[in-house]
């Protein structure tokens, strides 16, 4: 798995896109980078719609990102499509309601909304 970082235009929303499988063999390696990933953004969107696997190690990454964003008062949302692997796991651990949205458009609206 890898995270691709992209900042959209001048509105300061940072979109982090996950690809491949996010499991215990890759997610922990990203944890130390979380402060850097979040720093300086107006808002953060984690797009997991391209993942083929997602487990509790991924949940920890999402959790860390959410905490870090909260510390910086940056809005944060996770794109986890309804039938994808990430949505199922986020629902199981009870994070889907507060963080997950169906697609990128909805995520951008949520983090830039009033």
């Amino acid at each position: 798995m890898r995270l691709v970082e992209a900042t959209t235009g001048g509105d300061g929303v940072r979109v982090l896109t996950g690809q491949g499988e996010m499991d215990v063999t890759v997610a922990p390696a990203i944890l130390p980078e979380v402060p850097a990933l979040v720093a300086g953004a107006r808002a953060v969107v984690l797009d997991l719609s391209g993942l083929t696997f997602f487990d509790s190690a991924g949940v920890r990454l999402v959790d860390q990102l959410a905490r870090e964003c909260a510390r910086h008062r940056e809005p944060f949302a996770v794109v986890a499509p309804p039938l994808g692997p990430s949505r199922r796991v986020l629902e199981l651990v009870g994070l889907a309601d507060s963080l997950a949205v169906d697609d990128l458009q909805a995520a951008l609206e949520r983090v830039t909304g009033p």
């Binding site: 215990v24 063999t25 696997f53 509790s56 199981l92």
Partner: protein
């Protein structure tokens, strides 16, 4: 002889003539009557001559006819010829043919009457004979129609339909109810047609059985209808209760015909019972042979279907069977004995047993068929039987198969196009020529592949070539492969037989080979974790897991393996984690084993989430400690998430 005014004196011949002669005045008064006339009317000459008019000697009807019709005609035309009238005589009416001529010049009317009694009787007899002939012809026609319908009828249901239809058809009843006797002789309502007599369906018509007349077999008129006993050879088979038509113009019920129809129906019911008994013995035989359960084993699943030929009560000689050819090698068979009925069913039973008896370790399909050739030689009904036989090694998936005149098995792979297995073919069993080269062939199953054996009724249709039928079958078999085996077979037979009023029996056997259990070893550095997930997903699909079960189990296995690697390895990257899975009664049992001691999860870290996720995913998790720790999870292959 007295003489009348104006009339010539009659000579002796006139007076004694064998016909009645009279001379009348123009007003009809009898002037002279001869002896024959006086004798016919039973009166004396003195009473008649000069006193009575001719009309006084006629019957009432004839008198009216004379006064209103004959007398005027006589006056106008001068004569009437051969008019049939009745004289009123001492022995009742005397039919005569009357001819009268008016002799206006003489002022008299001369009348001659000849007796018409014989002719009248002849005509009456003629009419009666014609009526009788017509009625007999009608009865014969009705009987023939009813008998023909009854002889065409198959089984008790067929006879019931035929007699109820005849009742409101040729027998002319407004409606009918058929009561049939059960084994103890109690009558039960079997069916009705038209507007049947109003009776309580739970109670036979009164007196139907106890009435003495019913016992001798004659139809009886009863208030509200006609009771027709249906007598078989040995016992009363039932009672037909008819409602006559209200229409006054319709003929009254013909008890003779109804009695005869009742006898025919009784005998038809005798035949139907015998027929059904024989068919039922054959059916029972076949059913008992086909009902034998396949061997119980987690390494394969077998689903079967048997559809008896419709429109025929007789069973055919189709069969399927599964048994152990040797340890770990399953034999699957589908065969077809030529012919129908008890003979075919018993030949099928013998042949089926023979296949089991002949199969033994090391024999193999080709030699098995050769041995069957020798077996069928003395059994005439088993000759030309066709068989598809396959032995499946449940550990490797290798199939050895042979077909004796039988349509090719279909290999339905988990992915990819279906294959007709055309190799390993030879002639039907006991075919002419005696010495047969029996060949066999091999094919390898991959986990999740299915093997379909069937009899020709499944794909053979008169309107299309065999190859086309086989292609349709292979296509239909591939279309249903996502479903569990039993649904696959049910769907396949439903699809293939959708438009078919099946003439022939159909046997179908489907073997599902999920492959060996899942078993992998991983080093604790988890470099192979992703590969494990993909292999497990593939294996689960071969077992017939649906998408949700596959995703849940792969996630659970991944979490459990990550836990085991961290907690069980003691920090040694070379330590091993074992992951195994097998299916028990549609439930996947997944076990992840490590060599360390399981530590209870600490809440608030992802390890806790890991076990929490496993529990949430599969519902049932157990942790066994002994030499190391084993996490066991169970989840159904299909169906709702827990």
């Amino acid at each position: 002889m007295s003489s009348a005014a104006g009339a010539a004196a009659p000579h002796q011949g006139w007076a004694d003539a064998p016909c009645a002669l009279a001379t009348l005045a123009l007003d009809g008064t009898v002037l002279e009557a001869n002896a024959t006339l006086l004798e016919w009317v039973g009166r004396s000459r003195g009473d008649v001559e000069g006193r009575l008019r001719l009309s006084d000697l006629l019957s009432v009807g004839a008198r009216i006819y004379w006064e209103t019709h004959l007398s005027p005609v006589l006056h106008v035309d001068g004569r009437v010829d051969e008019v049939a009238v009745d004289l009123d005589g001492p022995r009742g009416r005397q039919p005569v043919l009357l001819t009268a001529v008016a002799r206006s010049s003489a002022g008299v009317v001369q009348v001659a009457m000849t007796s018409a009694r014989e002719r009248w009787r002849y005509e009456r007899d003629l009419l009666a004979a014609r009526r009788t002939a017509e009625r007999s012809a009608g009865q014969v026609r009705v009987l023939q129609e009813a008998t023909a319908a009854l002889s065409r009828a198959l089984g008790v249901d067929g006879v019931t339909r035929a007699v109820l239809a005849a009742a409101v058809g040729s027998l002319g009843a407004a409606g009918a109810a058929l009561w049939l006797a059960d084994a103890r002789g109690a009558l039960a309502l079997r069916g009705s047609s038209g507007s049947p007599p109003a009776t309580d369906p739970s109670t036979p018509p009164a007196g139907a059985l106890l009435d003495g007349a019913a016992l001798d077999g004659a139809a009886l008129l009863r208030a509200g209808g006609v009771l027709v006993p249906l007598r078989g050879q040995a016992a009363l088979q039932g009672v037909l209760h008819l409602a006559p038509r209200d229409d006054p113009a319709s003929d009254p019920p013909d008890l003779e015909v109804l009695t005869a129809v009742g006898q025919q129906t009784g005998l038809a019911l005798d035949r139907a019972h015998l027929y059904e008994q024989s068919a039922s013995v054959a059916r029972e035989l076949q059913h008992s042979l086909l009902a034998v359960s396949p061997p119980e084993d987690g390494r394969f699943a077998v689903a079967t279907a048997y559809r008896p030929g419709v429109a025929m009560l007789e069973v055919g000689g189709d069969w399927y069977d599964t048994f152990w050819a040797e340890d770990g090698v399953l034999a699957v068979v589908v065969g077809d004995v030529v012919g129908r009925g008890l003979r075919a069913a018993s030949a099928m039973g013998q042949l089926r047993s023979a296949v089991r008896a002949v199969a033994a370790p090391g024999v193999g399909p080709a030699r098995l068929l050769s041995r069957l050739d020798r077996f069928v030689e003395p059994i005439e009904a088993a000759g030309m039987a066709t068989v598809a036989y396959a032995e499946v090694d449940l550990d490797t998936g290798r199939v050895r198969y042979a077909c004796a005149g039988h349509p090719p098995p279909v290999l339905v792979p988990r992915c990819g196009p279906p294959r007709l297995l055309w190799d390993g073919r030879s002639v039907p069993l006991g075919a002419f020529g005696r010495v047969h080269e029996r060949s066999e062939a091999e094919v390898d199953l991959s986990p999740g592949d299915r093997l379909l054996l069937y009899t020709d009724g499944l794909f053979e249709r008169r309107e299309r070539p065999l190859e086309v039928g086989l292609e349709v079958l292979a296509h239909a078999a591939a279309a249903g492969r996502g479903a569990p085996p039993a649904e696959h077979v049910a769907g396949l037979t439903a699809t293939m037989l959708r438009d078919e009023r099946v003439r022939d029996d159909v046997c179908v056997l489907l073997l599902d080979w999920p492959g060996p259990p899942f078993s992998r070893r991983l080093s604790a550095d988890l470099r192979e974790l992703s590969a494990l997930r993909h292999e497990l997903a593939d294996w689960l699909a071969a077992q017939g897991a649906d998408d949700a079960a596959r995703d849940d189990l792969v996630l659970a296995a991944s979490e459990a393996t990550a836990n085991a690697a961290e907690h069980g390895s003691g920090g040694r990257p070379e330590a091993l984690v074992r992951v195994g899975a097998h299916v028990e009664d549609g439930v996947v049992v997944l076990a992840v084993h490590d060599e360390g001691r399981w530590r209870p999860p600490v809440p608030s870290v992802e390890r806790g989430r890991g076990l929490g996720i496993i529990r949430a995913l599969v519902g049932e998790v157990s942790v066994e400690t002994g030499s190391g720790t084993t996490v066991v999870v169970r989840r159904a292959l299909r169906g709702e998430r827990p």
